[in-house]
Symmetry: C2
Subunit: 208 residues, 2 copies
């Protein structure tokens, strides 16, 4: 049969990616070593080099897989949710799931490490944010056209704030070990778009 390995459930390359991914998300790209991955999988670093030429290539593979998985998740949201506001909530929940695992967003973490990354990894990180902002921007445009979402300026600007706001909420929530903290910030970020706050002693909109 097609799987004659003696260790692990999945193929070694996937297991390496799994472990390395978690290590990057928890410790940062400069906070783990080939040795860490190898010892966790009970193999040697030489075996790692067989599957990934070096740490840079491993990093590239990490972002590629993470981005693809995220893209899949966005596709699923598109399928299951029609309402833009619900889509945004589902989007924020993707981040929440990562945080619940005591992890930072892979690319948020790599954004912190950005200046130390090899060029191909840098490009892949930026691509991740571009893709996410494009998707969120599309949802926002749709919602505005529909009348269910309200915001000023361009959809891509607003999308950029949503994405970076969620990244920041994760970043700061992790030291507190507090997912509620993230959820409060995430709701608040989206609340500004999904419903207009009741006004407080303000001139009527006629002035606008």
């Amino acid at each position: 049969m097609a799987r004659g390995r003696q260790r692990g459930e999945a193929d070694t390359a996937s297991e390496i990616l799994d472990v390395a991914e978690r290590l990057v998300q928890v410790r940062g790209f400069n906070g783990f070593s080939y040795g860490d991955v190898a010892s966790e999988l009970e193999i040697t670093t030489a075996a790692l080099h067989y599957h990934f030429a070096g740490k840079a290539e491993l990093g590239e593979a990490l972002i590629e897989r993470y981005g693809a998985r995220f893209a899949d998740a966005l596709g699923e949201i598109d399928q299951h949710d029609a309402d833009p506001a619900q889509k945004l909530e589902a989007y924020a929940d993707l981040y929440l799931d990562v945080l619940r695992d005591h992890r930072m967003c892979l690319c948020g973490m790599l954004a912190a490490d950005y200046d130390t990354l090899p060029k191909p990894m840098r490009n892949a990180v930026v691509r991740f944010f571009d893709d996410n902002e494009a998707w969120v921007g599309g949802v926002l445009e749709h919602g505005r056209a529909e009348g269910t979402l309200q915001f000023t300026g361009s959809a891509s600007d607003a999308a950029q704030m949503i994405v970076s706001g969620l990244e920041g909420a994760m970043l700061v929530a992790r030291p507190y070990g507090d997912t509620d903290r993230f959820q409060a910030a995430a709701s608040r970020l989206l609340a500004g778009l999904t419903h207009t706050p009741r006004r407080r002693r303000r001139k009527p909109a006629s002035l606008a």
Copy 2:
């Protein structure tokens, strides 16, 4: 006289902190070494160990000084700006100044590295966020009482979103090398508090 040194304008300890601070803000706590600091100052790592027992102690000193400087800046804002909305803008400008220097917020960066930090550094990072959120929360409460700021929920919750939102905006803007990107996100974060958006075909507030 009180300064008989042969190198540098300031005392060595301060110069070490200056260099180390920039390195942490640009490369992260695990992205620089004692050797990097030493070679930049054209001294040896042994000299560094004279001033700071180890990297952990250097890190603690870094956060302490950064926090104190930030607290000073907040005090200055309190002196010069009376209007809560202006205070918030001035607050965001503190972050902008850091970003213009191609740096991440020190504690934002350390939040990413959090899981790899020694305990005393962790505590100091959380304290930094607590202090910032407390100050922003105070501004928000004042603004709401005054009627110049509008937001739902607790001031501390809203403050938490502002702080983490600004951190995230920095985090994501840095890979793009784009301060405009930060400014757009920062304005949008604050816009939700400083003026209520004009409503779009919505049921009147009577339903709420």
